[in-house]
Symmetry: C2
Subunit: 325 residues, 2 copies
């Protein structure tokens, strides 16, 4: 963890975009007349569920790995994650011609484990109830000389994630507001850096699940606070405390945090499915839930929304969203 | 039904595209590395599930209605359909500033009925087991002076549907093959007219559900034959016999028909959900099933695929695709 905070600037996000050009998908921006009418705004949906590995995470992982020295890269990279960051680092390693070791819990969903292994990564498992994945990954990295790519707490990761917002704004023009999910805080920190760097008047609103409101509480307290391990379907946002670096950026850049409940997230996933014809995982649907519930408040004219990922299998979707519709 | 067959030409499709410009969505063309590897070809997915009303049907309906005389249009339009054509005609009427009467079965899914009524159409119901919807719609149209917009058996409808393929080819360049679903035959007749008109060497392959192989049987017999009412999840293709006009075009233009079973369609819907992150209704997924099963045969280099629609609610999707994944 850095002790002095390195800033992440609009230029860093621009540099990241240059490095990622032709590597990441330039994901489409979807519009929906129905959604505009419900939200009372012009809503521009940046569909990172169509990104490689199915989520924005590939942007930050590839950018951070690509900034390593040739010597570091040759020794290989490592990460700890049971989710989208695991697949992102595994694919980044393959694309950069190196190897990856991913520390995953023993009980990670088989589909995520298979996808990660499918990109050629070595998987090291640990017991989620007794093990410390960060310590384990750090020990592994030290022992084997690997470069550890953290899921959010790194300026290169944050700058990479910010390219999603940069692309959106380049394509659609200035935004009055930008809404994105908050997990560890890397996506929104990078996105806010891009959005406010380009147009300081853009309001940036983060969305957390009700049970995992660590960033909102931390912003209110003016310091990083921890919440109990969140029970929420939004697995990408089930963190207990914000990152030090991401929080230092977000307390300066965010205009507010909106909370959404699991039932509201389910409704948003169903809306995405039935009306937008796209697949969102729970965390990816939280900004849409903030819009559909009106929690994001009266909105100004043009609102960018980052739909962060779509990694959910049909069985889990059926269990979460199939009944009652 | 026309007694002498009016031809539909590439120029008709081009005229339709000019009329539809700014009215229909120019739907995105998606690519998938995974699908390319599985299919052994460069696959270009034209996503008509993102079209207005959620299916290609709006193209033909709007084009046919838009070609009416001002006097005809002012008296209103009519259609019979329990599916996507109903919503398409209802929306076309609203956009053109006129009224629509849609003949639907009493037991049509409430969501489809609501969507159709939501566009402002009047709904007239009939009993599917005892009523004749064509006779009812024709009587209604005659009585009220309405112009009947048939779901496929009309040159303006066919030319409108062909604009999906025209857009795809304009965006991506010449295709070695084009694959599209076959129901009444309007989509593939229009698409083949566009594709072969531009590049006569393009192979055009239709896809039918196994239980509803009326066009394949008719092509083999060299004349229109009827099959029993198909039992298939692909409700958009549950027809018993091809149209006279569509068959006259398709017997000249199609290079083959591939059949897919309901389980294969389910697998393709699940693939679209989990890998492509898009929602397809069963009929919309049949061309993908033809690719994934290898039924479409060894494919040449560049293959265009029309994913025709995505109108399925989350509950039905869960019942069809949720188990076992």
């Amino acid at each position: 963890m850095p002790t002095s905070v390195p800033p992440v600037t609009l230029d860093d996000v621009r540099d990241a975009a240059a490095r990622l050009k032709g590597i990441v998908h330039r994901t489409p921006v979807l519009r929906s007349r129905t959604l505009d009418a419900l939200a009372g705004a012009e809503v521009l949906l940046k569909c990172e569920n169509f990104q490689r590995v199915g989520a924005f995470k590939f942007r930050g992982a590839y950018h951070a790995a690509g900034r390593l020295t040739p010597g570091q890269l040759a020794r290989g990279i490592a990460a700890y994650s049971s989710g989208n960051h695991a697949q992102a680092v595994a694919l980044a390693a393959r694309e950069l011609g190196t190897t990856a070791v991913i520390v995953m819990p023993q009980d990670a969903p088989p589909s995520k484990r298979e996808a990660t292994a499918g990109y050629g990564a070595e998987i090291v498992t640990y017991d989620r109830y007794t093990g410390d994945r960060v310590a384990l990954a750090e020990a592994l990295a030290a022992e084997r000389g690997l470069a550890l790519i953290p899921p959010y707490e790194h300026p290169d990761v944050i700058a990479g994630q910010g390219t999603a917002a940069l692309e959106l704004i380049e394509e659609t023009g200035p935004l009055d507001a930008l809404i994105a999910p908050v997990g560890g805080g890397g996506l929104i920190a990078g996105s806010a850096t891009a959005a406010k760097g380009l147009h300081p008047g853009t309001r940036v609103i983060g969305v957390e699940p009700e049970a995992g409101d660590d960033t909102r509480r931390s912003l209110e307290a003016g310091r990083r606070v921890a919440v109990p391990v969140p029970r929420t379907i939004a697995d990408g946002q089930a963190l207990t405390t914000p990152g030090e670096l991401t929080f230092s950026l977000n307390r300066r850049l965010l205009d507010g945090i909106v909370l959404v409940g699991d039932d509201e997230i389910r409704d948003a996933m169903r809306f995405a499915f039935e009306r937008l014809k796209i697949v969102l995982e729970p965390s990816g649907a939280t900004p849409l839930a903030a819009l559909l519930t009106g929690r994001a408040g009266p909105l100004p004219g043009r609102v960018g929304v980052i739909l962060s990922g779509g990694n959910i299998d049909a069985g889990r979707f059926a269990r979460l969203c199939g009944a009652g519709s």
